[in-house]
């Protein structure tokens, strides 16, 4: 925090793309899409802030959360520009719709790093997981678990996708279908407004009643929140114990369910490296350094965006210890509450 931070009207040097320096520091904007999913304020934000202050102790991170509202996010980009940030780390609510805001930032000489979701418009760098890939991994895990029990077409499966208003949900769905179509019988499929666990519960209950609870051989749930509602519905409806159920996000509740055997898998997106990438890229760009990625991506408006893509990881009972626990994503104490303690022990987590 130096002269710029002290406030007062913007000096012309603060905007217009002049490079900053480590001694004085500069402002980095961080825009996250929502708070209904645990990860954003639990991991993404603190990791990025920690890493930024590691790479540039005098830099300041200005944070905003858009509550799943693209218009609000656009306003937040404007605020960032008013606030004289030099770089924006942007996790778009609507990757496509944010393009015009990205252009506006570009016009003002502010650099934009797309974080987690590949935003449209003239972005300068990208770091993320591949969302279609996430869907594929969910599908594969589900298929494997079903196959382990016999003929994958011996009964119907139920698919419960995410919110139709979330573009990521479409990607997950696409990825999962690319694996499952033809291999299994999809008995019922739902899109769930707001990723609502209650709604997912109602949908699953309906599906089990319609298809016969004892016939269903697997359930695809697009994320862990919904998987929670579904797991309960499976129990109540009398779906066979151990019937496969997917998830995503490696939420604490899901890890516990996996240990207890009411959920089969989740997708762990190692946020730490992702956040570290974003922080490093932001500081580098702010200092005017050239940045390089593990490759490049094309978002439709720019074709060679330097990108660092991280592989998501499938988490099952077997690798909880080596993934989320090892990364410090969740501690053993957090996971192994009294309810789960014995399951922890048998899975070798302690």
């Amino acid at each position: 925090g130096t002269a710029e931070q002290a406030g007062g009207p913007a000096s012309p040097a603060a905007t217009g793309g002049a490079t900053g320096n480590v001694a004085e520091g500069f402002k980095i904007g961080l825009l996250l899409p929502e708070a209904k999913t645990a990860r954003y304020e639990k991991f993404d934000r603190p990791y990025i802030e920690q890493n930024v202050s590691k790479f540039c102790p005098n830099c300041e991170v200005v944070y905003n959360n858009a509550n799943q509202d693209p218009n609000q996010q656009q306003q937040q980009v404007d605020s960032m520009l008013t606030n004289n940030v030099k770089v924006i780390i942007l996790d778009a609510v609507d990757a496509k719709a944010i393009a015009s805001s990205v252009s506006k930032a570009k016009q003002q000489g502010v650099k934009v790093i797309a974080y987690d979701r590949l935003a449209g418009g003239p972005i300068d760098a990208y770091t993320s997981f591949d969302n279609i890939q996430v869907g594929k991994m969910q599908g594969e895990a589900l298929l494997n678990a079903i196959r382990a029990g016999g003929d994958p077409k011996r009964g119907p499966i139920v698919m419960i996708n995410g919110s139709p208003t979330d573009p990521n949900a479409g990607d997950f769905k696409k990825g999962a279908h690319s694996v499952l179509d033809g291999q299994v019988t999809i008995g019922k499929e739902y899109d769930t407004p707001d990723w609502s666990p209650d709604q997912a519960n109602t949908e699953a209950t309906g599906a089990f009643t319609a298809l016969g609870a004892d016939k269903v051989i697997g359930v695809y749930a697009a994320n862990d929140g919904m998987a929670g509602g579904i797991a309960r519905a499976m129990q109540n409806a009398g779906v066979k114990k151990g019937t496969p159920l997917t998830g995503q996000d490696a939420e604490l509740a899901a890890i516990q369910r996996i240990l207890l055997g009411t959920q089969t898998m989740t997708i762990y997106k190692p946020i730490k490296p992702e956040a570290e990438n974003a922080a490093r890229m932001a500081v580098d760009i702010g200092l005017g350094k050239q940045i390089s990625g593990t490759g490049t991506v094309d978002n439709g408006s720019s074709s060679s965006i330097p990108a660092q893509i991280i592989q998501p990881i499938v988490v099952t009972k077997d690798n909880i210890k080596d993934t989320v626990v090892k990364d410090g994503f969740w501690t053993v104490e957090e996971i192994c509450t009294p309810e789960v303690r014995s399951a922890c022990q048998s899975a070798g987590i302690s």
Binding site: Y190, D194, D198, T202, G228
Partner: protein, 420 residues
């Protein structure tokens, strides 16, 4: 002695005074039928039109999917209505005042979060945790009510501020870890997964309700006769009892064909009946209706308007918390999504669909039950079908409208005939 007494004739004289314009209905069944026809024409059918709407919805969904009316689905339905239905009972109180509580959903979410944190993270006894959650709901309601009644901020604004603030509180309470799982075998989860599977439970309840209704009506009637004021005919009384018996035993029969009487349903029914009792049989309830009907008249009659307003918002807050407990119980977890999304709108819609006026002074706790049945039947029917989201939204909207149109049309003829 009131100054009116001296020249007031004794009871029996008053009895004799029957207005010749009052159309007395014939005795017996013919009279009942005639009265019914008159009511249909006059539109004074109470909740019958919505019940008809509900039956039509059931017939349609059943014809689309034969599982719809299966004991399993109906049993699930009867549990699915509970969480939002409980919130809706609180909303009915607020609507009777002619006010609105936009914060009910957020309060339910925040209190569910509190419950989960106390119970799971802090290891509280579940009963204590539930009590704490409900008290917290009442306190939030107290806040709303005070700003509204004492400072005069419109309830819409107070509770909108509450909606935002308690959503924030919910996030804060849950902490960064998000969803908290409730133990499957714990008391809270069992609230919605316990069934009284003994056949006698459901039938016993049905019998109790029927007998209770008959006895209360009969005794009331006798007292009226003794006091020399108009009474219902015995035929009428028996007819009503019979209708209740058919519904109650029918429901018991169906529930017994699945897992038995669900605890959650039992609790919900008890709450609805208790709320109805408070609203219609106590001075407090009468005061709520009075404030909702004409606040100035109530004030001049010495009703403590501020107290009524504050306590009603406390009831709404507490009921929201109870609803939140059941919502958490249903999916055995509390998360940032509990009470969010359209829980609030559905709770209000249930009350309105069930016949409670948004403008105050008219309604009953039973509308929460009836309205939730309509709403949840649509949701369940759609879930059985598994149609695409866009179609689902549109059908839900259309069916909701259709369910109320019948009611509105009959009310319109009522309005045309000068009432309502």
């Amino acid at each position: 002695m009131s100054p009116l007494e001296p020249s007031a004739p004794a009871g029996p004289a008053a009895q004799a005074q029957v207005d010749p314009r009052l159309l007395v209905r014939e005795q017996g069944f013919a009279g009942y039928l005639g009265e019914f026809k008159r009511r249909v024409r006059g539109g004074e059918l109470g909740s019958l039109p919505v019940v008809v709407g509900l039956v039509i919805i059931w017939i349609i969904f059943q014809s689309l999917n034969s599982q719809f009316l299966s004991p399993q689905n109906l049993s699930n339905l009867s549990i699915d209505i509970v969480a939002t239905g409980l919130i809706s009972v609180g909303i009915v109180f607020v609507l009777l005042l002619g006010e609105i509580d936009l914060a009910a959903g957020a309060v339910s979410g925040a209190c569910a979060a509190l419950l989960a944190v106390l119970y799971v993270n802090n290891g509280w006894n579940p009963i204590m945790a539930i009590a704490a959650a409900v008290v917290a709901g009442a306190v939030l309601g107290l806040l709303h009510g005070s700003f509204f009644a004492l400072i005069g901020v419109p309830s819409f604004v107070v509770t909108l501020a509450g909606l935002l603030a308690w959503t924030g509180l919910q996030l804060l309470v849950l902490g960064p870890n998000g969803t908290i799982n409730l133990p499957d075998a714990g008391l809270v989860s069992r609230l919605t997964s316990t069934y009284f599977s003994q056949v006698i439970a459901a039938y016993g309840l049905a019998a109790l309700a029927t007998a209770g209704f008959f006895i209360v009506s009969y005794v009331g009637n006798s007292r009226r006769r003794a006091a020399g004021i108009p009474t219902r005919t015995m035929g009428d009384l028996l007819f009503r009892t019979a209708v209740l018996a058919i519904v109650a035993f029918g429901a018991a029969f169906i529930l017994n064909k699945y897992k038995g009487l669900p605890l959650a349903l039992l609790i919900f029914l008890v709450v609805v009946v208790a709320a109805d009792f408070v609203q219609r049989r106590t001075r407090y309830g009468r005061s709520i209706f009075a404030v909702g009907g004409n606040i100035e008249a109530a004030r001049r009659a010495g009703v403590n308007v501020a107290l009524i307003r504050i306590t009603v918002f406390m009831i709404s807050g507490a009921m929201a918390a109870v609803g939140g407990v059941f919502a958490a119980s249903r999916i055995a977890s509390a998360s940032q999504a509990t009470g969010q999304s359209n829980v609030l709108l559905m709770a209000i819609a249930a009350a309105v669909i069930g016949g409670t006026s948004l403008f105050g002074g008219r309604g009953t706790a039973f509308s929460a039950l009836l309205g939730m049945l309509v709403i949840q039947s649509i949701a369940s029917g759609m879930a059985l079908e598994g149609v695409s989201n866009s179609v689902q939204f549109m059908v839900t909207g259309a069916v909701l409208l259709a369910a109320v149109v019948i009611d509105s049309v009959s009310r319109r003829s009522q309005k045309a005939s000068g009432r309502a």
